[in-house]
């Protein structure tokens, strides 16, 4: 029987008349329970996120005295912006720029490296293929924090600490991307196509460029998305690799805002020339997640498939 054939037709085949729902009210209530529960969870999630975003548009006084919801003002965002710009002469915007360099750079390298590697692993037979695939899956399921200190020792041995390019290159190693590309080519590219190309005398590189690259759209979107989000939100690696404030990424920079805040560190913040309370912190946190949100929306239609491939890493 075909999947998704209309229920009525199926019931007709099994020889049963469709029974009209004559369920007692109490049972119907019980049947509603999972949906009610799901709704409650969704409402809690929305409540948390919405109050957090709204905090950027409220005053400290309102947060202090009016509870979860209070008057919102868009001009408050301008005030937050000025406070943030005044902090260490606008270092926040350097952080955003640095994050953009390492996250876009890292994701671009990840795509450029993972696509051909996934193609070769999926389509060619060679010695060491099994070992390489095993190493790919192994490194993919290991948390990326585990190598941070060893990588730091390596990079400091060649005196490249406090530079952005090594961070982007390290982010470029994205075994999950290679695995995604591997699965993508395994399921979309027929061997016969490669065979006929070879008979026509196309070189191996030519086969990749002419057959595999045009098919890559889905894999490119997924690899770029997952790499970008992982890189942008990474904290431990940039913390260790970029110790100077002006070369930090924004996720480490947020930590500096917290420790400089009058709210969490009144003594250290005594000499601070700007206000860093919850509205400003919320503004800084929400502003830095907008790029992730944009990339997320761009990649959304490719995501359900990616998720099924095991799209989760630590």
């Amino acid at each position: 029987m075909a999947i998704g054939s209309p229920t009525g037709e199926r019931l007709a085949k099994t020889g049963r008349a469709p029974v009209p729902p004559k369920v007692p009210a109490l049972l119907r209530l019980r049947k509603m329970t999972p949906m009610t529960f799901l709704t409650i969870v969704a409402v809690v999630y929305l409540f948390v996120m919405v109050t957090f975003v709204f905090a950027a548009m409220r005053t400290e006084q309102s947060l202090l005295h009016q509870g979860a919801f209070g008057p919102l003002s868009l001009s408050r965002l301008g005030y937050d912006w000025r406070q943030l710009s005044g902090f260490s002469s606008g270092v926040y915007f350097d952080w955003l720029k640095n994050s953009a360099v390492v996250a876009f750079g890292g994701a671009a390298i990840a795509v450029a490296v993972a696509l051909p590697a996934g193609y070769v692993l999926a389509m060619l037979h060679f010695r060491g293929r099994r070992v390489l695939l095993f190493l790919t899956i192994l490194t993919m399921v290991m948390p990326n924090t585990v190598l941070v200190i060893p990588i730091f020792l390596e990079v400091s041995a060649v005196h490249q600490i406090d530079r952005l390019w090594p961070v982007a290159v390290i982010f470029g190693f994205f075994p999950f991307g290679t695995y995604l590309a591997f699965v993508h080519y395994k399921t979309t590219l027929p061997f016969e196509l490669l065979e006929s190309g070879r008979i026509d005398g196309v070189s191996e590189i030519g086969l990749f460029l002419r057959l595999a690259v045009p098919l890559a759209k889905q894999a490119v979107a997924l690899v770029f998305f997952f790499a970008f989000v992982a890189d942008w939100t990474n904290y431990f690696l940039p913390l260790v690799m970029l110790p100077s404030s002006s070369v930090q990424t924004v996720s480490v920079g947020l930590q500096e805002l917290i420790t400089s805040s009058q709210l969490f560190n009144p003594s250290a913040a005594a000499g601070l020339n700007v206000q860093l309370y919850m509205p400003e912190l919320s503004f800084a946190a929400v502003l830095q997640m907008l790029p992730v949100l944009v990339v997320f929306i761009g990649a959304q239609r490719y995501l359900s498939r990616g998720a099924m491939l095991g799209a989760v890493k630590g």
Binding site: F47, P143, V146, V240, S251, F264, V286, M308, G314
Partner: protein, 291 residues
């Protein structure tokens, strides 16, 4: 196979960038850390296992692993039951809201890391918190009271659930969608209840995903750093800066400047994740590296 005999060597050059990165970012640093871990504390000369001895006998060593155990004891059941429960409930629904809810559950993932942390500071600090009535009912009026060290396992469990559960719900939901509908329908016609369909058909079929999920989260928890570290900074030192093993590595490397001990502890942590990684790769049956 014909293909392999005719296929030229040229194709393998496409692998070069990946293999180089695997070496530079994975294999070389691992080897270098192992080498450093056998150096003497002065940084020069062979030190045998003295760095390992230093790391293991550090008084925070055992407690940092105990903290990971505590976090796992709270977080893992919370996560498994929460994610499986929500995914199964979503899967049972016909409503169009399902897609909306999946999206809402996923959204905090975009705030992952520090963004999520700032959000939780907002929730936990009674001064601004939108849930202040709950906090004051619990008797907390300052952040230091909400975030006292004994509460950390629960707080971290909440933080990690909020940022990570949505993605896992997508994964498990995707796995449930892969089950042919006829299977459940046939069982229902034979008189199986909804619970029986879930218990005997759906759960066994997504079992590999659950195993993957548990192992991956154990590996992740053993690596905790951000949450206890920054919460410690925000509460003016009431939480030990060596609360987790990774924080201990960080202290060895950047406060004590005992690089061999930092390397030795890194190697120990690496070995733990390696064991978990090998279990995931070879035992869950999700990643067949055959054809």
């Amino acid at each position: 196979m014909m293909a392999s005999s005719r296929q030229g060597r040229g194709g393998l050059s496409l692998l070069v960038p990946y293999v180089v990165l695997l070496a530079v970012v994975g294999i070389v640093p691992t080897g270098y850390a192992i080498y450093q871990s056998f150096l003497a504390r002065s940084g020069s000369g062979f030190g045998g296992i003295s760095a390992y001895h230093d790391a293991v006998t550090e008084f925070q060593f055992a407690s940092s692993f105990a903290h990971i155990g505590l976090v796992l004891a709270v977080w893992l059941p919370f996560m498994v039951i929460g994610v499986m429960g929500l995914a199964l409930m979503l899967h049972g629904q016909r409503s169009r809201l399902v897609g909306v809810y999946r999206f809402i559950y996923y959204l905090p993932g975009a705030l992952a890391g520090m963004g999520n942390f700032v959000l939780w500071l907002f929730l936990l600090d009674p001064v601004n918190s939108p849930v202040r009535p709950i906090l004051s009912w619990l008797g907390y009026s300052t952040l230091n009271q909400t975030a006292e060290p004994a509460h950390l396992p629960v707080i971290i469990a909440f933080m990690l659930f909020f940022q990570g559960a949505g993605t896992w719900i997508l994964v498990i939901y995707g796995g449930l969608n892969g089950i042919p509908e006829e299977l459940g329908e046939a069982a229902t016609i034979d008189g199986a209840s909804r619970w029986q369909v879930t218990r005997w058909i759906k759960l066994p079929l997504v079992r590999p995903w659950i195993a993957y999920f548990v192992l991956l989260n154990v590996a992740y928890a053993s690596q905790l750093f951000l949450e206890p570290q920054v919460l410690g900074l925000a509460t003016e030192g009431q939480i030990s800066p060596q609360w987790t093993p990774n924080q201990l590595v960080y202290t060895f490397a950047f406060q004590v400047f005992d690089v061999p001990a930092a390397a030795a502890l890194s190697v120990i942590l690496l070995a733990i994740s390696l064991v978990i990684g090998v279990l995931i790769t070879t035992r869950t049956g999700l990643f067949s590296n055959r054809d």
